[in-house]
């Protein structure tokens, strides 16, 4: 009896799954096992913990975010493959390879993982890598908080993946609408896993939002006033502003859903005075800003890439800044377009439809500004530019599809159809993912010291572009043919099957593209001697990151730069300016394990909350509080790098007198 209480809802059945899920658990477990084996064999545990897991260096944190994000992208991509396989086979008398409930868990996991862990992970990874260097500073405003953010992200990720092995996941879609997500219709722990992995990761995101706003506002180097910042930094400022306004709504809303499920409150129940429509409003009040949170930094990356590879100033800098803030403000005024079909009436629907269209204007302005940056430039089509070209071609189609959907009567037909699914994948894949891939490829030499293999990079981009077209054009068509999303079976008389099969081939091509992208990195690292970036400025770049050695030293700048103009590094090259070689001792933050420790407490809290293991949640909470207090009491948080070391590092990379 006592043991039963100690373990909450956990029992032997929590570990029993169907064969496909068991394969997934097997792959996950074996990967962890072999990784641990490798670390032991090569005796790298100390290095892993000392150099990486306890690091407060924004660049290392950035790399770790990206590695986790790519792993999650692969996992969720595999989910997509399972979904395409199911929908290609499950017609008429054939019911495919997945039971309905399992299929529903897979697409819910696919969406949740992609948005919260793949896309957000790539975003925070790149923001961490690039923002401090682009503004000429040595680290973010709150380096320890930065590490907490990362580890909370990991903690949420681990909790979500635990659902594969222990228990099950939500089958209510990536947003878990009630009444379906209430206990009555989702009696298993799946929805609770969804709630708590998002809750934990969400707090991490919120803290990062605060961190980067303060960093950008207060840590820019001398002379870099706001209108001289790189456009990427503006886009991050806009995105992080959205984070601090939007994420608290998510935190509040999913807490209320959890309370409904745990103690029987009536926030969103259908009865007892609850209001499920209120959930839909609240979750989209977060959800719509979320998609702009994801896309704005990707836009910013393209601004940097197009200017650099066209060897030309970004066109319409001021317009671009205004466009970002127009998008930020407008993104809070459109949320109802996600549920025109909920019956709010013509006036309300009309208003939100019009607001949604208005947001298309600043977005369109940005596209034209990029194109005009190319005009009368000297364009090199390296891999990052291929991603950009793919983005323009595919994102535009998704964008006009979105404007179409913004007209309520059109949406009445196409809402929740595969047309909608194709639209938002057009935005997220060819916008968000292409942008972040381009950013990783673009900045790779700066944080690794290695130039990436161009040929493999271009092939990867082509495969993604081709794969996307093959995978999603059929989905636009399927929507017009009346195909609803999330169906695990359909009748052959619909005529949908051939299109699903073609879409499946597209996903395989995309998978090939992802493999090529990863191979590009692995191969280039393997050939690192030939690929070494010896100048720190492989593209004849425009912004400050190209003025420091590759890989960027721990402290970024040996001498903090003084900026005179936008694209100051480019200007200083044209004007043949030389640096004032005045070195000073600098302070850098010491490593800390407290972030990692705090997040293990968060995991305990979450796991206990999911399985109703009260003592575990309390222990988790105490660990979190204890960690915060421990950090507050820590006095010795910095160490000094003497200026002699800075001088030596510079001489080693640049030679004497630079």
């Amino acid at each position: 009896m006592m043991l039963a209480n100690l373990l909450g809802l956990l029992n032997v059945d929590s570990f029993r799954h169907d064969i496909i899920q068991n394969v997934g658990v097997g792959i996950m477990t074996l990967s962890i096992f072999f990784a641990s084996l490798a670390l032991t064999y090569f005796r790298k545990w100390k290095w892993l913990f000392g150099e990486w897991l306890s690091s407060l260096d924004h660049k290392k944190i950035g790399v770790m975010y990206i590695i986790v994000a790519v792993l999650m992208l692969s996992k969720a991509g595999f989910d997509a493959l399972l979904m395409r396989t199911q929908q290609s086979l499950s017609v008429g008398n054939n019911h495919g390879i997945l039971a309905s409930q399992h299929y529903q868990q897979i697409f819910s996991s696919h969406g949740t993982t992609m948005i919260f862990f793949a896309a957000m992970g790539l975003m925070f990874g790149i923001i961490n890598l690039a923002v401090p260097i682009l503004i000429g500073t040595r680290d973010v405003a709150f380096p320890w908080l930065n590490s907490v953010s990362f580890w909370l992200f990991v903690s949420g990720m681990i909790l979500l993946n635990t659902s594969l092995a222990i228990g099950d996941f939500s089958g209510a879609g990536w947003l878990a609408y009630p009444p379906l997500s209430e206990l009555q219709f989702s009696p298993t722990v799946g929805v609770d896993y969804w709630i708590w992995s998002l809750q934990i990761a969400g707090v991490g995101s919120l803290l990062s939002g605060i961190n980067f706003i303060v960093t950008i506002l207060m840590k820019r180097t001398k002379g870099m006033n706001l209108m001289k910042m790189p456009m990427f930094v503006w886009s991050v400022l806009g995105s992080m502003t959205l984070v601090v306004f939007a994420f608290p709504v998510l935190t509040a809303t999913i807490t209320l859903l959890y309370l409904d499920r745990l103690v029987g409150t009536h926030f969103f129940t259908s009865g007892g005075g609850g209001n499920p429509m209120m959930y839909v409003n609240l979750i989209w009040a977060w959800g719509h800003p979320e998609v702009y949170i994801l896309i704005l930094p990707a836009f910013g990356i393209f601004s940097e890439i197009v200017a650099t590879f066209s060897k030309k100033k970004l066109f319409g800098y001021t317009s671009m800044v205004w466009a970002i803030w127009a998008i930020v403000i407008l993104s809070f005024t459109v949320w109802l377009h996600h549920f025109f079909t909920m019956g709010a009436g013509a006036d309300v629907n009309g208003f939100f439809g019009i607001m949604t269209m208005i947001i298309a204007i600043p977005t369109g302005v940005k596209i034209f500004n990029w194109l005009f940056t190319m005009f009368r430039g000297k364009i090199t089509f390296s891999a990052p530019m291929i991603w950009f070209v793919g983005f323009i071609l595919l994102f535009s189609i998704g964008g006009v599809a979105g404007v179409l959907l913004a007209v309520p009567p059109a949406d009445f037909q196409l809402h929740n159809s595969l047309f909608l699914v194709a639209h938002f994948h057009s935005m997220i894949v060819s916008g968000v993912l292409f942008g972040y891939f381009a950013g990783i490829v673009y900045w790779f030499p700066k944080f690794s010291g290695i130039k990436l293999n161009e040929r493999l990079g271009k092939i990867a981009a082509y495969l993604w572009i081709l794969g996307f077209i093959v995978a999603f054009v059929p989905l636009y068509a399927l929507g017009i043919m009346g195909a609803t999303r999330r169906m695990d079976h359909y009748s052959p008389s619909m005529g949908w099957q051939p299109l699903f099969i073609v879409a499946g081939v597209g996903v395989l091509i995309i998978g090939l593209g992802l493999l090529t992208l990863v191979s590009q990195v692995l191969y280039s690292v393997y050939k690192h001697v030939e690929n070494k970036d010896r100048t720190g400025d492989p593209y004849d770049g425009r912004t400050l990151e190209w003025s420091i050695p590759s890989p960027a030293p721990h402290y970024n700048f040996s001498i903090l730069p003084i900026v005179k103009k936008t694209d100051d590094f480019w200007e200083s090259k044209q004007e043949k300016r030389s640096r004032d070689l005045v070195y000073k001792d600098i302070s850098m933050p010491k490593n800390s394990y407290i972030g990692l420790f705090l997040s293990s407490g968060a995991f305990a809290l979450g796991f206990g909350a999911v399985w109703h293991i009260l003592w575990l949640s309390i222990v988790g909470l105490l660990i979190i509080l204890g960690s915060v207090i421990a950090r507050t009491l820590t006095e010795d948080t910095e160490y000094t790098i003497p200026k002699e070391k800075l001088i030596l590092d510079d001489i080693q990379f640049y030679g004497e007198g630079k």
């Binding site: 605060i210 608290p248 029987g264 409150t265 009536h266 609850g274 209001n275 207090i629």
Partner: protein, 195 residues
């Protein structure tokens, strides 16, 4: 010299960060207020706010909390005058007032629940308990914060770091006051008037 402790340049990052955190907390409360506004008439056959809530109690709680804001401000003034004992004195008073506030609130919650008006009874009560309860949770965190701050000041004295902590705590405590004013107005006052 005294003002330097508060205005020191390195601290301004922390203050800006803390203000932004307060903003995010505002959004959390705004969401809970929106939920309360939507659900406050969904009594599920039970009694409404007008009947259930006691104005004298709400008024008492308000006076206690506002006074505690005054005393926490007095702690800051003591800090500016570098008077370590007085800082601790006013912090203890603030702590006691905050604890009294919380005690009264929990007692009322318990009273309502024992009458069958728990947070499971209706959408109205769910939203009431969570809105007011979230504020109470923040008060609890404030109490914990005061203990930690007090111990630090006792052990290490008034340093730039502990001053920074004291200022941020004060921001937090005043913020909770502002939220309470809204709760008092929207939940108790408007409830009392049957709105």
């Amino acid at each position: 010299m005294e003002n330097n402790l508060v205005i020191k340049a390195e601290n301004s990052k922390s203050y800006l960060g803390f203000w932004i955190y307060i903003l995010t907390d505002c959004v959390v409360f705004a969401s809970l207020f929106a939920v309360y506004a939507t659900l406050h008439n969904n009594t599920n056959g039970g009694e409404s706010a007008q009947i259930l809530f006691s104005m004298p109690l709400a008024l008492t709680q308000t006076i206690i909390l506002l006074t505690s804001s005054l005393t926490s401000g007095l702690a800051i003034i003591a800090a500016l005058n570098k008077h370590k004992t007085r800082i601790l004195l006013w912090t203890v008073v603030t702590f006691l007032l905050g604890s009294l506030f919380l005690f009264l609130e929990l007692r009322e919650f318990n009273h309502l629940a024992s009458m069958g008006d728990s947070w499971r009874a209706s959408g109205f009560l769910s939203s009431y308990f969570v809105l007011v309860g979230t504020h109470g949770l923040h008060i609890l965190i404030g109490l914990l914060w005061m203990i930690v701050l007090g111990l630090i000041i006792i052990k290490k004295g008034l340093t730039a770091k502990s001053m920074k902590g004291l200022v941020m705590f004060n921001l937090f405590w005043h913020f909770l006051d502002v939220i309470w004013i809204f709760i008092f107005s929207v939940v108790y006052l408007m409830g009392h008037m049957g709105l």
